[in-house]
Structure formats: C-alpha cells, structure tokens
C-alpha cells in the first residue's frame, strides 16, 4: 500500500512517497503563496519519479507550518511527532532530535519506542534557524551551498554579538570591512547558530544518540560547529534520505498506520 507524507515548510514543501516502509521517491518545491498548489506540485513530481498514479496513493498525511492548508490530505500531524517517527525509522538509537528548518529550530526527546517524551521550540527569534545562514550568505556574497565547506577552512574563532538576523548582517559587513577572512566570518556565523541551538537542546536535556535533521543539516560547517559544541558527533541522515525530508517521511509513516498498513 502506498502513502504520502507532505511537509509544508515555511520555505520548501517536501513530499515522501512510501510503500510498505520503503521510500519510493521524494520531491521538494519552493512553498509559494498557495501552499496547497505547492503541495500538489511536489506530490505530482514525486509520483512522476516513482512512476505511479495519484489514485494509487491510499493515504496522505500533512505536517509542517502550513499543514492546515492542504485540503486534499486525509489528516495532519504536528512536526514534533512527524520528526520523532521519521528519525526513529532512520536511527532507532536516537533519543534526542534536533530539527532546524528555515525559520524554526526544535528539539524532540523520544523513548526507545520512538514515543515523544519532551520537546522544545525555539521561537520569537529566527536567528537560530536556516534563514540566518541564508541572510549571511547574501551579506557575504557567498553561495549558500558553499558556506559549509568554506567555513571548515577557517582557523580562527571570532565571536558574533548581534542577535538579530538582519543586524548580524551588518556585523558581518563590519567584519568584512575589518578585512576578516570570509571563512572565519562564515565559521562565526555557524558558531553563533550552533550556540543558540545547543542552548535550546541543553534546555530540554541531551540524551544520546542525538540526530540532526532539517535543511540546515546539509551544511557541514554547521554540523561541525554543533559537534564541537556538544563534544560528540550528531547522527545526520544521508544515504536513505536527505535530512530535510525526515518530517515528510514521518508523516508518510503515520499515514501507513492510519490507513492500517
């Protein structure tokens, strides 16, 4: 039986198609103003990749910030639960999940059954999230994809003071004025976000293993900063599925249960 999980993020809409616990295909599109339309597009391209027809999909579960907008989904589930389910499938040893999306970071603690024990959400300030790195990549005129590897070249640790995403930009500009090496600035950016997120995780309490999911997990520079902060290595999805799809994966799994699969 085939099910779909749709994660309507503030920036991207992601879809995962599953069949009996196996991932058939994934797809992602920029979240437009009409989220249902974006979800439709993402779903269709996932169907195309997997070479199956829409009516073969038995159950669709939506999650993420815009889940309410997806009228064609059978039901919805919060990101917290979706993350727990998706991550548990990938790494059953996980007890703490860190999910950093475009605008929001969250931590989920799960037990050995993958059940949610506790969670925390970093709200009110986007400085700890992906949007921060994007703003910085723009200020630095460095391509977002190359931020990660560049920062690993850095040999110097410099602190960032500004809390606000927009003002961190001006701090970055002043660092540039001071002729600071770009890789050092990028590292500082990563360290700043890593600090905010580690303190969010510590607030909930760290229990190993700890997994990192969400788009920002693709940024090796950030992962490195997190690892340094925590003093151990995070589990990051790569082979079976990319980290930004884990919430959608969780939704697809829940869709299977809901439809008795």
């Amino acid at each position: 039986m085939i099910t779909a999980g749709i994660d309507c993020g503030s920036k991207n809409t992601k879809v995962v198609l599953m069949k009996e616990g196996n991932i058939l295909s994934t797809a992602s599109v920029l979240s437009g103003f009409d989220q249902e339309e974006s979800a439709e597009q993402a779903l269709n391209s996932a169907l195309e990749k997997a070479g199956i027809k829409r009516d073969e999909v038995k159950h669709i579960t939506a999650t993420g910030a815009g889940m309410e907008a997806i009228k064609f989904s059978n039901d919805t589930i919060t990101t917290i639960t979706a993350d727990a389910r998706g991550t548990y499938l990938l790494f059953p040893s996980t007890r703490t999940i860190i999910d950093i999306g475009a605008e929001e970071g969250l931590v989920v603690k799960i037990d050995d059954q993958g059940k949610v024990k506790d969670f925390g959400i970093n709200e009110k300030c986007a400085a700890g999230a992906g949007a921060f790195i994007e703003a910085m990549s723009r200020a630095l005129e460095v391509d977002i994809e190359t931020m990660g590897e560049l920062s690993l070249k850095s040999t110097k640790k410099i602190p960032m003071n500004a809390q606000c995403t927009i003002f961190a930009e001006s701090e970055v500009v002043s660092l540039i004025h001071q002729k600071t090496l770009k890789e050092d600035i990028i590292r500082a950016v990563h360290d700043a976000i890593a600090d905010r997120n580690t303190s969010m995780v510590r607030q909930i309490g760290i229990e190993k293993d700890v997994a990192l999911i969400g788009g920002v997990a693709n940024n090796i520079g950030f992962v490195d900063a997190m690892n340094k902060n925590l003093g151990f290595d995070l589990l990051v999805p790569k082979d079976r599925i990319a980290p930004e799809y884990v919430s959608a994966l969780g939704a697809a799994l829940i869709a299977q249960e809901k439809s008795g699969g």
Partner: protein, 437 residues
C-alpha cells in the same frame, strides 16, 4: 458531538463574585465622596493594618488592577507605550507598567466609576520582589508625591523563621501604624485591626479549602473560573465580605458540586496545572484545552498566592488551620499576622526554587495531574524566579511539562497561534487528539 462524561452546571455565586469585584473598584473611585480614604499597594500588602483606620478606608491593589488593564488590549497598549515614552524599560513588570500608564494617561480601567485615575491618599506596600517597593516609589513620583510606607517581608523561608526575623517585620508594622496615624491624622483602632486579621485568616483558609476540593475527579472548578474567584482575596483578603464569600457561599457550593459529581468540563480526561499568572488577554487558551478534554485544575499560583497550606496527619496538603489563639492587643495581632503570611506558598521560592518544585510535584501527585504547563512569564520576574529549575525538577519527577513564553500583561509578548501549536504537540505527546465537536 461527543457525549459529555460528566454533568456540568454554572456556578451560582458567580455573579456575586463579579459584583463584589466591581464594588471594590467603585468604592475606591468614590471613597472621597464618602469622606473616606484611598490607599494603593500590592495584593500582598498587609491590608489588615490600614483597616484599623476605619471602615471607610478603601484600597486599590496594583497587580489585580494591572491585570484588569491587560484585559483591555487597547488601554493596555496605551499604558505601556506611555511608560516607554517616559523612558521605562519594556521588560519591567507588566502590571507595574499598566498601572503607571494609567497614571500617565490619567485613565481608570473602570470608566463607569471614574474617567480619571483616582489618586490615592497614601501608599501601603510590602516588599519581597525587587519591583514591589520600587513600583510605588515611581508611582509616587508620577503622581507628584504620595506618602509611602513599605514593609520588607523577605526574611527567608517559613521553615527557617526565627524570633528576630519576626521582630524585624513586626517592628516595621508598629512603625507603619505610627506613620499611618501621622499621614491620615486619624486615631488607630486596634479592635478593627484584630477583626481584619481574623477575616484574613478565614479568607486564606477557605480559599485553600476550595482549591483542595479540586482534587476530585471530575474537577468541580477549572482554573479559568478560579481566576475570577481567587481575585477577591488579592483585592482585600482582610475584608469581611471576602472572608464571608469564601466561607459561606463559594466553599459550600463547590463542596456540593463535588458531592453531586458536577464537573467544570464535561469531557474531562486529562488534568494539568499551570504556573505563574496567565497571559490575561488570552484566557481562550483554556477553552482551547477543553477541545482535548483537558482541564487545568489550578496552579501553585491560584492555590498559594492567597491560600495558605499545611501538611495534614495523612501527609497530604490541606488548608492551613486558623490559629486557635486569643488576640488581645496590637502586638499579638501583628505577630499572628506576620507568622501567618510568612507561610505563604508563593513567598517560599524567593529563597530557593527547590521549595517551589517540591510543592508543585506534591500538587501534581495529590491533584492527579497528567502534565504541567509552565508559563515563562516575561511580565513577572518575581513568579518566574527559578522557573527553569522548577521545570527540571518536575521533569525529573516524571511529570511531563510544557513550557511556553509569554507575558501576563503585555500581549505584544505572547503569540497565541504558536502557543496553540505547542499545545497540539504536547497533547499529541500525551496521546490525546481533539474531541470531535
């Protein structure tokens, strides 16, 4: 539409409580017309003491007033921006900023009784939180000078009280009474004081007795309603009308609800408590909880701000017994009043979060709770003091917690949509989804 598990019915004495509250603000506004006196101070001030000046002395307690302003979001914003324009920081106590704002824009939150903010004749405050005495120091500045007396009660936890600590407070009280006679030109009546002290004993005792009844399943009261009832104690705990209402009307009615199995929420299937003052402009969050069959049975805040408690023979928490003593003079009255107040649950965490964690864990067990909502309240540093440690301790005791940030009196710092999302996730983690309406 799901069938309700339990019968529900509205509280009979609800309107009475509403009227008592309105009269309080009316009396303050009209005190001078009646030839009486007005004083302002905190909800924790020893209101039994000015009572000795006569029956025509009316008070305005700042915290409940600040909350009243918060209910009116337009007025609240006006007040807050007026204080900010004066150069006061936004992170200060939001009750205090609402109160100052009322002075600055000269608007009373009860325009039906007075358009203008009624200026008090004197300030009678106590001090345990950094903002207590300073609140009225500034208020006096803004009013162009009002005589002020404040009593420091921050002598340490109840369990560690000693003679010299009590002497320090009682000494200030005696000084305060002399001061009251001086600034009002009135003679002080110890009989009225003794009567007020006895009223306060009754108010605090019976409010706790009422909260204790909420141990029952289903809970006869939900916290949202309790807010409108406990408030009387924050207005004038030493008043005859407050004590009588709790002892003779509310307590019997709630007792009767328990006996007849009347529920606050018909579909109760999950019990929680909160912590610190709620974001007053957003009490609908409690209505939202009902969609999950979740009832908040109270909090250390609703139980222990006015209610006093003690451990009974069977080891459980019950209302603190009214002192079985003969009060014959001023000093005895003041000593009894001091000892009584020092046991206030909401005064203990000022010295160590552990004292609060223990009480909260006890409530969670005895009131049979499934979880605890912790309002990280940017509007009140006094009650948010140590809240992070409380969370760790409650978690450790195996009770799920849901922290959320907000502000009791400044809605700019509370995000309803995000908080509801949090609630969804928390309920999901408790295995509860919304009941089909």
């Amino acid at each position: 539409m799901v069938e309700n598990k339990y019968p529900t019915e509205p509280l009979k004495c609800w309107n009475k409580a509403k009227i008592l509250r309105e009269n309080y603000y009316k009396d303050f506004a009209e005190a001078h017309e009646k030839g009486g006196l007005r004083w302002a101070g905190g909800a924790w001030s020893f209101d039994a003491i000015p009572a000795g000046l006569g029956d025509d002395v009316y008070s305005l307690t700042g915290e409940p007033y600040g909350a009243t302003v918060a209910f009116n979001d337009k007025l609240a914003l006006e007040c807050q921006e007026a204080t900010e324009a004066k150069g006061f920081a936004r992170d200060l106590c939001s009750y205090m900023r609402n109160y100052w704002g009322s002075i600055l824009i000269n608007k009373y939150a009860w325009p039906q009784f007075s358009e203008e903010f009624p200026k008090p004749d004197f300030i009678w405050q106590d001090h345990i939180c950094c903002s207590h005495a300073k609140w009225y120091q500034v208020a006096s500045d803004l009013e162009g000078g009002i005589p002020m007396f404040s009593i420091d009660v921050s002598v340490g936890p109840y369990e560690k009280r000693t003679e010299h600590k009590i002497n320090y407070i009682v000494g200030q009280m005696h000084d305060g009474i002399n001061w009251l006679e001086k600034v009002t030109g009135r003679d002080y009546d110890d009989e009225l004081l003794i009567q007020a002290v006895k009223n306060e004993f009754r108010s605090c005792h019976y409010w706790s007795a009422i909260c204790e009844l909420n141990k029952a399943i289903p809970a006869p009261l939900d916290e949202k309603s309790m807010y409108s009832l406990y408030v009387l104690g924050t207005l004038r705990k030493s008043a005859q009308w407050a004590a009588d209402f709790y002892e003779k009307e509310l307590y019997p009615e709630v007792k009767d609800r328990v006996e007849r199995g009347i529920a606050a929420i018909g579909n109760e299937r999950c019990r929680i408590m909160t912590d610190t003052q709620p974001p007053w402009a957003f009490l609908r969050i409690f209505r939202y909880l009902e969609q999950f069959g979740c009832v908040s049975v109270g909090s250390l805040y609703t139980f222990g701000l006015i209610g006093l408690w003690e451990v009974k023979e069977d080891g459980t928490w019950g209302p603190k017994s009214i002192p079985d003593i003969e009060i014959t003079n001023r000093d005895e009255a003041l000593r009894a009043l001091t000892d009584w107040n020092l046991s206030k649950p909401e005064w203990q965490h000022f010295y160590h979060p552990k004292l609060k964690s223990d009480m909260m864990i006890r409530i969670a067990k005895e009131w049979k709770l499934d979880g605890v909502f912790l309002h990280y309240n940017r509007g009140c540093e006094g009650l948010s003091l140590g809240i992070a440690e409380n969370r760790l301790a409650i978690q450790k005791a195996g009770i799920p917690t849901m922290p959320f940030e907000g502000n009791m009196g400044d809605e700019r710092e509370f995000d309803l949509a995000r908080t509801m999302k949090r609630v969804d996730a928390f309920m999901e983690s408790l295995g509860l989804d919304k009941l089909k309406q």
